[in-house]
């Protein structure tokens, strides 16, 4: 018997048209592979879609493909992920479940004593017993696990699978992976297979009481950083699991997506001009045709502003040579001259004040009203003004001038364009 385990497909994440195509192709290739390999069922523990209601284009191709899988007689078992969940069943997941293309496995009952019972769903063909919990944003689902009545789950006999969506701290391989991780001990013990979602790289580990905790990772990309990982050789795909009473094998099936080029520049202790020069040279060395090009610049400049590192010319050059997409990451780029020191505070207001107070000393202006306490007050007002949302029924061409005029008024400036 065989099942497939996919996760974090993030349909609808890509904004660029050519990447949208790749996203769709990879998704379809994965499911075609499942059909071709005659899997008994498919597990998708969360983040099938990037948002709970994706655009119609995405829904159309997803429905078409799921219908095909359904017609092939392969059930798909899912839980919500942190991106596509809806507390009021207002997700395209629910629509797919309603028409019978997929099945939500979370069969939870809230008990009077504030515990949560979970029932198994039994796969008709294989007899595999499947239970699972959805993933919520910022680890809010942790509470569910803490209240879970695990005795009944652990006492159940047979081949059991647990679907979950969340990071497991015991499985972290990189300390940069921050955020809502939970300890493995929160999951009920004694299942034959733990089908995980949320972590975007393939990871298969076994622990005492928890055999086969598996993340297949995203089949293409669900965060911007995924493309960079792909460019650095990260393999993408899904997992095929052969089983009888226990798991026989766990196989990672690689699905090709697209070609990449990566240009990495270390900006530490350098000036913008030398970085611009290196970018030009490195761009010449690559063949960007029909590829995703990742430009990553990190480090601390000795002087000048980070904006002095000029990407626009490089971008034009790469576009002229038919690069499919150019992704630039300057998040790790700072400057000694203008580096923002982070600051903490009890609330948003306090954090803003502290960040401005920490950093305003770096500024060298001739205008005293932009410095010291005056400057902090002005910066806060400006930040507040620029953060104003669009009003109901306000059009873009009304919103932009309103915000601009208010900001200029705060700065005591006239609009030269008028």
């Amino acid at each position: 018997m065989l099942f497939a385990h996919l996760s974090d497909i993030h349909l609808g994440f890509q904004k660029h048209e050519s990447l949208q195509k790749v996203e769709q192709q990879v998704f379809e290739k994965c499911l075609d592979e499942c059909i071709a390999r005659k899997v008994d069922f498919i597990l998708i523990p969360g983040d099938l879609f990037h948002v709970n209601i994706p655009e119609m284009r995405v829904q159309k191709f997803a429905f078409a493909k799921f219908r095909q899988v359904h017609d092939a007689g392969i059930p798909i078992y899912v839980v919500y992920g942190s991106h596509d969940f809806s507390p009021v069943s207002n997700s395209v997941i629910d629509l797919l479940a309603e028409v019978g293309y997929i099945t939500k496995v979370t069969k939870a009952t809230s008990n009077e004593n504030n515990t949560i019972s979970l029932d198994f769903l039994v796969d008709g063909k294989t007899g595999a017993k499947i239970a699972g919990l959805s993933g919520l944003k910022v680890g809010k689902d942790r509470e569910w696990y803490e209240k879970l009545d695990r005795d009944s789950l652990e006492a159940e006999s047979g081949f059991k699978i647990f679907l979950f969506h969340g990071g497991i701290s015991d499985m972290k391989t990189d300390s940069g992976m921050d955020g809502d991780q939970m300890p493995l001990s929160l999951l009920p013990k004694g299942f034959s297979y733990y089908a995980g979602g949320h972590m975007h790289k393939f990871n298969h580990q076994s622990f005492d009481g928890y055999p086969n905790v598996v993340y297949p990772g995203t089949p293409f990309a669900g965060y911007h950083a995924d493309l960079e990982d792909n460019a650095n050789g990260q393999k993408r795909g899904f997992v095929l699991v052969e089983f009888e009473d226990t798991v026989k094998s766990v196989e990672f099936v690689e699905i090709e997506n697209i070609s990449y080029e990566i240009i990495e520049v270390d900006a530490n202790n350098r000036k913008a001009e030398s970085i611009n020069q290196e970018l030009v040279e490195k761009t010449k060395e690559i063949d960007p045709t029909e590829k995703v090009v990742i430009i990553k610049i990190k480090g601390e400049l000795t002087s000048g502003k980070t904006a002095d590192v000029d990407i626009s010319a490089i971008r034009d050059e790469l576009n002229s040579r038919n690069a499919m997409v150019i992704n630039v990451s300057k998040n790790g780029l700072t400057s000694k001259e203008y580096s923002i020191t982070e600051a903490k505070g009890a609330n948003k207001e306090e954090i803003e004040t502290n960040v401005f107070s920490e950093n305003i000393g770096q500024l060298r202006f001739e205008y005293p009203e932009l410095l010291n306490e005056e400057g902090i007050k002005l910066a806060k007002k400006l930040l507040h003004e620029l953060g104003q949302p669009v009003l109901v029924n306000e059009k873009k061409n009304e919103y932009i001038p309103r915000i601009r005029d208010n900001a200029l008024a705060l700065l005591g400036l006239d609009d030269a364009s008028q």
Binding site: Y80, F85, S86, P87, V88, S89, T106, A108, S110, N111, E112, N113, N114, I116, L133, S134, E143, W144, Y145, E146, K147, R150, S169, D170, M171, K172, T173, D174, S175, M177, P183, L184, S185, L186, Q205, F207, D208, G209, T341, E342, A343, K344
Partner: protein, 527 residues
């Protein structure tokens, strides 16, 4: 002063050793706190010795006793006995409190002669107000009487960065005190703590413990090697986290052995332990006699392997994969981020309890060393970048502290991270909370740096002397007092308290009963 509350009157003595006559019918105890009211201020005084006084000469008393005992006179009595025979208490001034502003100063003068004194009340201790971000340690104790309204709170950032020492012998309430302290540390995120819990007694794995704190979910992290309870973390540290310097001051390696270790580290970088363990010393061509050519004698190599094997409980399976029997150390992909995660939690002001009960002594210290080194480095970096101020103070709670800061350890081996923290951690807001039965083997320089001592009962004179000699207040008259401290009774001496405070530490179980989480009721929505 209310006549009824009067317990005695100043009749003589000198500064630091004032004699009062006890009022008949009252029963003064060693350690009792009393008050002598003066103009605009009052003195807080403490009894340190009690003796009999009498208007009748000794010989006469002895003769009377003879009449009583030998001649069977049953109704022989002193004429006006309360007047003739009495108790003299020797007391010392602890503090002068100015009534107007509750200012507390070290006393520099005697109480007025013949002044009447009374026992202390809660109203006299109004200056003990809880300040923001402080740690609760107990209630003021006068003799064996507890003044529940007078809670003692210590300023968290100050006491933890300036190191804390908890000296006591077994059974005097050390772990109850540590749990009480950690309970209030859990209230806020102002103090991060690494607790090396050698007896797995703080978290409350199977009973009452810190896990019952209302903020435990957010602020308490529990790491245990195997079978972690629901929500707890697995204590697995990847061998890649270990560097040669982590063994310094903890494990006895000879110079050639250390060189072999450093060489392995240079060659294999982060995988050095694993590679060193799987190296067949003889087969690798290391000659067994001459340690020349930059190689090491096979014998040295084998000793290093054996020491590491014992220390880290390492074994090799048939495929050559190195693993540790107690599962704390891993050579594969587990536990790669544990050290970073723990350090991050401490930096976020959380209490991290490591269950090291399954580890050997040296392995426990090594785990602590790895984490403490990283923590201190991060705090040093934060100081360099000007961000230290925003970080919570960090403390490392370590039991049997002489294992790492004892005289013999520090003279025979190199400094280790714990002694470094004891010496310079204060500058970087990293402190030690050292628990020990043997203060006398900790060097004076380190003892003097421990600016808060919570002294529990101790029957060993040598230990009491070491504590008294390094106390922040003059405890020279308190030797007997310390010896007679009952379970849960303590004296706090600190540069952050106005005088050596006698306290009673409440039972941790009572704190949990009063403030612990109540079982939740109602339903949770699941979707």
């Amino acid at each position: 002063m209310d006549e009824i509350s009067i317990v005695g009157q100043v009749v003589g003595g000198s500064f630091g050793d004032i004699v009062i006559r006890q009022k008949a019918g009252t029963n003064l105890e060693i350690g009792d706190l009393m008050v002598s009211e003066e103009n605009g201020s009052f003195l807080i005084l403490q009894v340190f010795s009690l003796e009999f006084g009498s208007q009748i000469q000794d010989k006469m008393q002895q003769m009377m006793s003879g009449v009583n005992l030998e001649q069977g006179v049953v109704d022989a009595q002193f004429y006006e006995p309360d007047f003739v025979n009495y108790v003299l208490a020797r007391i010392k001034p602890l503090a002068r409190v100015f009534k107007e502003n509750c200012d507390v100063k070290i006393p520099k003068s005697l109480p007025s002669f013949f002044n009447k004194v009374r026992l202390i009340t809660k109203d006299d201790l109004k200056f003990l107000q809880k300040e923001k971000d402080s740690v609760f340690v107990g209630y003021i104790r006068s003799g064996s009487k507890i003044i529940k309204e007078a809670e003692v709170w210590l300023p968290a950032e100050d006491v933890f960065s300036h190191h804390m020492l908890i000296p006591a012998t077994t059974g005097r309430g050390k772990s109850n005190l540590v749990k009480t302290i950690l309970w209030s540390v859990l209230d806020t995120n102002k103090v991060g703590a690494l607790v090396l819990d050698a007896h797995d007694e703080y978290f409350g794995r199977s009973g009452i413990g810190l896990k019952l704190h209302p903020r435990a979910k957010d602020n308490l992290m529990y790491y245990t090697p195997s079978n972690p309870p629901v929500g707890a973390n697995r204590l697995t540290i990847n061998l890649q986290s270990i560097r040669p310097e982590h063994f310094e001051g903890i494990v006895d390696f000879s110079d050639p052995q250390f060189q072999a270790i450093r060489m392995a580290h240079r060659q294999h970088r982060s995988n050095w332990v694993r590679e060193l363990m799987v190296t067949d010393a003889v087969a690798a061509g290391m000659e067994s006699t001459t340690p020349s050519r930059g190689d090491f004698a096979a014998a040295t190599m084998m000793v290093v392997q054996r020491k590491l094997r014992l220390l880290l409980s390492l074994e090799k399976d048939e495929e050559g994969v190195v693993f540790s029997r107690h599962e704390v150390f891993d050579s594969t992909t587990k536990g790669l981020t544990t050290v970073d995660d723990i350090v991050k939690d401490i930096e976020a002001g959380k209490v991290v309890v490591l269950d090291t009960s399954r580890l050997g002594d040296e392995a426990e210290l090594l785990v602590g060393n790895i984490i403490a080194s990283k923590l201190l480095q991060k705090y040093k970096d934060a100081k360099a970048s000007g961000e230290l101020e925003r970080k919570p103070v960090a403390t490392i709670v370590i039991e049997e502290a002489p294992r790492v800061i004892g005289v013999d350890v520090l003279t025979s081996r190199n400094d280790n991270i714990y002694s470094t923290i004891a010496k310079e951690g204060r500058k970087f807001k990293v402190g030690l909370t050292a628990i020990t039965q043997l203060s006398s083997v900790i060097p004076k320089t380190i003892l003097a740096n421990m600016n808060t001592k919570i002294i529990l009962g101790n029957e060993m004179k040598q230990e009491r002397e070491a504590i008294i000699a390094s106390a922040s207040q003059d405890l020279s008259e308190d030797d007997k007092n310390i010896a007679s401290l009952d379970k849960g009774e303590a004296i706090i001496t600190s540069i952050f308290v106005p005088f050596a405070m006698p306290i009673k530490i409440p039972l941790f179980e009572d704190i949990v009963k009063e403030k612990g989480v109540a079982p939740e009721t109602g339903k949770t929505k699941v979707f």
